[in-house]
Symmetry: D2
């Protein structure tokens, strides 16, 4: 076993080793220092993909021909046309395997019904695990889900000379809400300014504007709306900031943040299920008691490792659903925080709940109009206007399904086998128990 010092040193020692010819630190310097040599061509910029544009790009750049065939060879002009407004410098498309889980019965305030859930992933066992969880939830009568809050924010920052100017600015800003709302809502048909929050840190003021964004995920809506507010401020404020920024990194955009629990970013949803003990035994191969034991140890494991909230792997289900359904996959970084809880009911049933404060999702805009993504939303029956809240509740139900299945697999000692059997792609070689767990 390595000491901390040896371990710290490994990267450097390895570097020297793997560059055999380098026998001194000068070599290290040469390798890491700026170089002057000629650059290969810049990627020619193009915002409107077309077959000519894509073909020209492959020809201009020193990229592998085989890759072109794979990534671009089978795309039609119609395919390429659908990418307009979604990509710059287009090279073609990547393809991800798509599986389906379910049905997942959701008895929610917005979602109500039985859902087959499309999941795009390259990781074995993911779909099997979520599907098992979804089916168990459905057999137990379906999960209840409740959309608790929603809103997406932007946080422009304003730097002043001193606190006196901050005070004058805030005092003015507090009287301008109607004007701010008017300016903001002039830029958008769907966005509505919900609230403003003020953070004063020395001579810096952050104004946090929170919006409803209809059925869109809404990051662009809130950007444009807040820019309009900033323009109004620039024109009218009795005290001008020394400088300001449209977003000063307080909004939590694309980042896991502790503030999610107290406020909301996107949609905050909670969901729950109660499962009879015999169903746990039959379908999950373990007992409620054993799952509670796992929860007791795993939730403190999360706390001790410094996570924001405590949960198992919300990220798995969310990433697969987001990719399939045209959501912004980067938002997994912020959406995959939350809390999972398991308890034993007085009747000896298993009670499970998940709470996700930060689901960033939409059924219009973003990638939702792309053909395969739209087809996935159609599988859910949630494409287009009027469905964003339901989609958020389905996300919560899906995460609940995943937590159930993961916790059960760890409790039943099946976690490793499931991955072993399925990752090797051979059902025949999978342990009988796993096959059974998926098939049953």
């Amino acid at each position: 076993m390595a000491t901390n010092v040896e371990r710290t040193g490994r990267y450097f020692l390895r570097f020297l080793e793997t560059n055999g010819e380098m026998d001194d630190q000068d070599q290290f310097s040469r390798r890491l220092s700026s170089r002057i040599g000629e650059l290969p061509p810049r990627v020619p910029f193009g915002a409107v993909p077309s077959p000519e544009d894509v073909t020209a790009r492959w020809q201009t750049l020193p990229l592998p021909t085989a890759s072109r065939d794979t990534l671009y060879g089978r795309l039609t002009a119609e395919d390429i046309a659908t990418f307009t407004g979604h990509i710059e410098n287009c090279l073609g498309a990547v393809q991800l395997p798509l599986g389906v889980a379910g049905p997942l019965r959701v008895n929610g305030s917005a979602a109500h019904g039985d859902f087959y859930i499309p999941l795009a992933t390259t990781e074995a066992a993911l779909v099997a695990s979520y599907s098992r969880g979804a089916q168990v939830i459905s057999e137990a009568g379906g999960c209840a889900t409740l959309l608790v809050d929603e809103g997406v924010g932007r946080s422009p920052g304003f730097a002043f000379r001193d606190l006196v100017e901050c005070g004058r600015f805030v005092a003015w800003a507090l009287t301008q809400l109607d004007a701010f709302r008017a300016a903001a809502e002039h830029t958008t048909r769907y966005g509505k300014l919900l609230d403003m929050r003020t953070v004063v840190e020395g001579n810096h003021v952050y104004l946090h504007f929170d919006y409803e964004t209809g059925d869109a995920a809404g990051q662009n809506i809130v950007t444009f709306a807040t820019e309009a507010i900033c323009a109004y401020i620039a024109e009218r404020s009795p005290v001008q900031p020394r400088y300001c920024f449209l977003e000063a990194n307080l909004s939590g955009d694309k980042k896991a943040s502790a503030q999610s629990y107290l406020s909301v970013r996107g949609k905050k949803v909670t969901g729950e299920i109660t499962i009879p003990a015999d169903l746990v035994r039959r379908r999950l191969h373990t007992t409620p008691e054993r799952m509670i034991e796992y929860f007791g140890m795993g939730s403190l494991g999360g706390v001790l490792s410094g996570t924001i909230g405590v949960q198992g792997h919300f990220a798995n289900g969310l990433a697969a659903l987001y990719i399939a359904c045209g959501q912004d996959a980067a938002c997994v970084a912020e959406s995959a925080v939350g809390v999972t809880r398991f308890e034993l009911t007085p009747e000896g049933y298993l009670y499970g709940a998940v709470t996700l404060p930060n689901i960033i999702i939409g059924t219009v805009g973003g990638g939702t109009s792309l053909p395969t993504q739209r087809a996935c939303l159609d599988i859910l029956g949630l494409a287009g206007p009027g469905h964003a809240r339901a989609l958020a509740e389905v996300c919560a139900g899906l995460c609940l399904a995943g937590e159930l299945s993961l916790t059960a697999a760890l409790s039943a000692g099946e976690f490793a086998q499931a991955h072993q059997g399925l990752a090797r792609g051979a059902l025949a070689s999978a342990p009988a128990e796993i096959v059974r767990s998926c098939r049953d």
Copy 2:
């Protein structure tokens, strides 16, 4: 503006409103309560996709026909065959637009050269922004990158009757490292047990095992290896736990965690660039001073919102690269933490650095063998064995490019326009400045 109470109540009031027929809380109860009605058919489980398997699934399930045509219609039997071991319950495939950024010059300890970077996303402006940042880095001589540590862990948990048993167990475990290593490395050709760490919390013991996993991301490797250690413990430990779990949620798997900075999960990389002021002005349309001002306000914005580390949007670049290159997209949740720093050098240049403690990445295994994903790795020149460390350094360089471009856009007041122009997909309608910023 809504009061907290009104805001809290919105979800409930909205629920009642949007279900016009519901004039009392009984309706609410009926909607959220478990239902007894018949379930639609379970997804028939299938781990080995084939045309027959996929076709049967579409026929068995009540899914939209149009979706089938879109998601499955054009796939060949060969396409489907490549999905084996990557998906269960296969329905077909989703397609994401692919763009290319760069070149990005990396002068790293592992990566060394000029890289064109494939990015799969549905979000306008993402590729343009990263490409601009990459080009500026390259024109400034390239970024230096340094892989500082690596390792992937599993954390089995053991529950004992009391601290006395914990003490006996730990005392024994500390003498068994060679045996643990032998057991672990029996399961894997590439994994190496690096270290063991012990956490005692009352009568619970977590053993954290840290592994090198060669060029694989390694989650399966460490699962199987740790299972072998657990089996050895079950057989030999002088004191048996009341219960134990292969993973007790301490490893940070798929979760942003504060422990990343002190240890490592995956690959820990730092990267830096120094950019002359005139290059900042010419290509980023702002000044080093203004970008420092943003950094001063934005880094505290991150702190005040309770993020783990402070950065802008690592998640954007990582998600797009992970999806393109066959990485586990769920790992964006843990990888997208870190620190960005900008400073003014004594010469008035802009200095920028990023540090990512948690890059989970591989060039073998996972989705890296799928055709389009493999083609993307080929564009990078980093497919197959021997390239994982270089890929991690490219990730750091990419994040640095993104932070530069984002910070510059916010500093130059171009952030909203860039999104507006590109999201609407019409270069013609984009503000001239943005087109220039991308084209130049």
Copy 3:
């Protein structure tokens, strides 16, 4: 250097070593296991201290006689009488050295004037350092301070059968605010219910009640007021919780919590100062530039170590002031979070700011009526009603003074010498520079 494993094992190996007679793990077991032997007498309970009570306690318990003389020997019956309502099981009193720092000029919204600040501590260099900082602030014209928000909360928790019951309960609770306020304010002359916030986590509901508490720190006020609300709920709620608790650990009471930045706990204050460069040089022996360098490195040091906010040592000044002035010293745990920022102004001056979201402080109630504590408040001129907000602003100014002095000492390379000179108690032996730094 020790490996992780050796290090992990040290505690156990040391245990065996330091108990030489123990040559096996049975000894370990015997030591840690419950013992059956007879217990010494319980501390006889007494809530009303009197000379008789204290004397009897020393006689009843097997405590050292010399300790009695030291802790109790010089106290009069009057002294003891003043302890009534502040201590149970009284043994006497401990004495802490008291120093004074200042003057600190505060130009605040509540505090306005020049303050001499009483600080009780046993740690050398603390008073000297804060006094230096305070004097520099005053010479620069005084710090501006702004009380930004205030409120103290309690968070009762209610567990229901399911989400349906949660929804019914919340729907009812949202209509009962006037009744809640009436119930709460019936228990207190000074407390006012400001706001209610609802957190739904599965079948758990947390209601967070926020109060103004006049000039008292307010923890008891909000406890009694919230108990009255809970009683009202128990009597009137249309749906009864399975169980509930007056405080369900969401309020952040006595704990550093990330939610402080978004809400408030106690008083949220920000303060700032701008210091000419020559004053920095003359009195702090360094330059604004060098202090900015420290800030750049130190603030990321805080981020990398996972603190809540980034600052140097708010705890030092707050603990010393809290103890001197009869505040609840345990509240240092929650109050000592916040943000420090240093910047260079366009004129080359040093700008510094601190923001503390969580100052729990009062000028009535708690320990403020004890003789020495009241005397310390009199030194500040802030004893009794009407002064709590000013005291909070003085706290912010004091923390700003400490951050200035600490940062300057680290920047000037004087940090170690200051401690060395002063801890050894001999001015003569202190490095001349330090003496100068304190004396000047």
Copy 4:
């Protein structure tokens, strides 16, 4: 109820209101802006307290005479002499009521016996609550405690031109451990360098040095030792940093930090107790089941509020013990983090455990030699060399006692009454149940 905007505005509106004569923002400006007027006298610096020194200070400064009588009137020259090396600018002393809790039976690896615990506080109910918990623990056979790790660190930071210089520096530093140790240990009789850890963040390197510090809390020891290492680096390093600082804020000094769980700061201790159900009922007036219910809700309450770890109020007991026993009270900020866990054993008993990663404590140095503080250590039997580890285990036992008593009070619905009865200082007026709970 106030809207967010109204709430945000309160501070400003209040400011204008409470300064009735101010009818415009200019008044606000005048109040918060720097003032030019004359300053009152500086506190005359004095590091060696003596009656002459103290008397002169009171005469020189415009402080209240009555305060002098209270704070200084009864102190003898001998009293003042004992303060040497503990305070600057001495004014006298403050007095805190001292109570005693226990006995607390500790079956630890270092502490072993029955302890009466001195607690200095001004807050009613604190001693009563901890004493009740301690007695219950003792009646159940005593708590087991285990010191798991120890070490105190300093983290100097070094800024270089670029990553190349960082790499050269780290490569050199890794070979200098023996020299670093020699330099460090030359400054101290008790300190031992345990380990070095390296953090590279762009062109910044933090070296974290971890020390054992014998029976001292050790902050000064590690400061002086690390300064010697820095001097060695300044003399010998082949690459000189652009600048460096003795402490770059990575060590967690005086701050709650998430890194504590993975490393250690001070002493890391875990402790546990198992309590029969009838003892819970008889002495705590509740049941194990009800306490588990509280734990289930309270631990997630902590998670949702963003605390580091989950616990109730470690700060209460630690602050009272630290003040009584001459510890650095500011360290409550870092020590009061950790984890509490309650479970039901298979036999229906209550199992409770606490883990504190960060107890900063010593039995020599700091305030431990002051008369009343030394007397408190004598009550514990833990004064002087050889007792620091035992004192840390007693701290853990004390925190366990507090968590038990608090959780029980909340579970039994006695929390508010206990505070109400005891804060009003009249045993007669205390609810009978509380008196019973304390007396029994």
